[in-house]
């Protein structure tokens, strides 16, 4: 047990250092003279990673599927533009965006997290539609025409912020899933009744986790709002973003810290290739990849690769992660 603990600690330490180094390197890109194409690619990779990790923190760790993360990011984007247009400083505006998304998540959390997973999934699905309808109706949100950010910020600002959010979220998932509470959450995913029986307040843990996850999604959306600077409700609250938020971690490996990183890289690559080859089939192919990964790799590409390599390392000791999970 002690050995395991030691290995865990080493993993967290090295993992954190690697994530910090990557984050710093990516954040420094605007000053390293790379082309704007590469910079945009990295930005979008970070955007999808941050959103994916936000989803991962809730759905990947608990197994409760959220379809609302696109909408939560949209709420963040709207909140930040409204706050900045009211002449609030950047830090406060970002904070407001995170809080707004967190509050919206409470509506879903309180109404449906006492129940089994399906009710939660439905509640998140309808948030998407409800928010889009409300935003198009509310006068201060600009109606169907959307809203525009009045102040223009330098492009490096959203770039650095987005990389920081993505790196921070990845670090959070890495440390959290090995923490005491994180282990409780994983125990809950595997058997909620058993976890409740040993004294874990499952409902409270889920609500708090979903709130934190929503705040990260809101922050991500807010930074993207600064990047995009003009928001149209049908674009901001399209279902696409919610699909990306769950496809990135599911393809890479839901419930792991580094899986979504791989998922984001794969997704951004796929998106670039498809934009040239078959822009119409983008959605279909994402769906096919998602289906194939779920059916044949069970818990994503990263854990599948992990099993492949460990299989070569220690013959005879076949790890059965998928079997334990199922």
């Amino acid at each position: 047990m002690k050995v395991e603990r030691g290995r865990d600690l080493a993993k967290i330490t090295w993992g954190s250092l690697a994530i910090l180094a990557c984050t710093a390197a990516m954040a420094a890109l605007p000053w390293l003279g790379v082309t704007s194409y590469v910079r945009t690619l990295v930005y979008y990779g970070a955007y999808f990673l941050a959103l994916g990790q936000a989803w991962n923190l809730m759905s990947g760790l608990t197994g409760y599927v959220s379809f609302a993360h696109g909408a939560l990011a949209g709420i963040g984007a709207y909140a930040v533009v409204l706050a900045l247009n009211a002449d609030l400083p950047m830090v406060i505006s970002l904070l407001i965006a995170a809080i707004a998304a967190g509050l919206a998540s409470l509506i879903i959390g309180v109404t449906s997290l006492r129940l089994k997973g399906t009710s939660f999934t439905f509640a998140t699905l309808f948030l998407q539609e409800l928010v889009l309808l409300l935003v198009r109706k509310l006068p201060f949100a600009g109606g169907p025409g959307g809203i525009v950010l009045e102040e223009i910020f330098p492009l490096w600002l959203p770039h650095v912020l987005m990389i920081a959010v993505a790196g921070g979220a990845t670090l959070l998932v890495l440390v959290f899933r090995r923490s005491r509470t994180g282990l409780r959450v994983l125990a809950m995913r595997d058997d909620e009744a058993a976890a409740s029986a040993i004294g874990i307040d499952a409902t409270r843990v889920k609500i708090v986790l979903f709130c934190a996850s929503a705040a990260i999604a809101g922050l991500t959306g807010a930074v993207h709002g600064v990047f995009a600077s003009s928001l149209f409700p049908n674009e901001v609250f399209s279902i696409d973003l919610s699909i990306i938020a769950l496809a990135v971690p599911l393809i890479g490996g839901a419930g792991t810290a580094l899986g979504p990183v791989l998922g984001a890289v794969i997704y951004v690559g796929l998106r670039e290739i498809l934009q040239v080859l078959a822009p119409n089939l983008h959605l279909t192919i994402v769906g096919v990849v998602l289906l194939l990964v779920i059916l044949f790799m069970r818990d994503g590409i990263a854990p599948a690769l992990g099993r492949l390599f460990r299989l070569k390392d220690r013959r005879g000791q076949v790890p059965a992660i998928a079997e334990v999970r199922a």
Binding site: T121, A123, L133, K137, L283, L290, L295, R298
Partner: protein, 290 residues
Amino acid sequence: MTFPLFLQLLTNGLVVGALLAIVALGVALIFGVVRVVNFAHGEFVTLGAFATYLVVTQLNISPLLGIPLAFVLGAAVGAGIQAAIVSRAAGRPELDVLMVTYALSIIGLGIFSSAFSGDFRSYSEGPSGIFTLGSVVIGLRSLTVLLVCLIVGVGTILVVQRTRIGLALRALAQSRDSAAACGINVPAAELFAFALAVGLAAAAGALVSLIGTIHPRVGHDLVLDAFVVVVLGGMGSIGGAVLAAIAIGIVNAFTSFALDDSWARILTYCLLYATLLLRPHGLLGRHVGA
């Protein structure tokens, strides 16, 4: 509000509610028997709608014949998908199974969007004209939809309540393990339920093409309402789903008239959250153990 207007809105709501009931019936059937929320259900509605549209406009076949054709096509596609894809995920964690039907939904949405673009389509073949009953005006097409929904809905409920295979389905919905222990062929029963439900969805799609315009998201949008209905009626309860569908159809007709379509939908979703909070097992539902 005058009394004739009240009756008119009630009739309009009844037509929409009946259509919704057929779709929700399928969602409830799959949820009850296969224990899967079929997120791809809307894409099967769209499939039925476009299949009927193509048959009517290209082959000059009556849309009335398109309804059984859509049902058969839907049942065949549904059986294929259940056998080849959904059954593979059986027994896996809930997240995996949900994501399978969700991925199918994304694939279907992508295919319809790229094949038919975003145009709104409709056709003029088939029954036309209006029918007046006192002060209520009802289009012959709407009347057709109402009648077909009644026949199909009653037929499905009879199959579930009165036949041997229906008994197997109900046993499965109560307890999977006990049903298997009693010698019920679980994979075959699941295949039947899935095929029947998808057939219903496709037939509903054919009816949608008869009374409205169709586009690649037509089923996707309709199924969101069907999900509301299934939650309100108590997850997996067929009778509850039918009642809730008709109620939602009528409520929507009145709120759409008094305010507008968007507010009607906002109200529907708020009703859903209130139900989840106050009556989590549906308006009529009782708590049923898994």
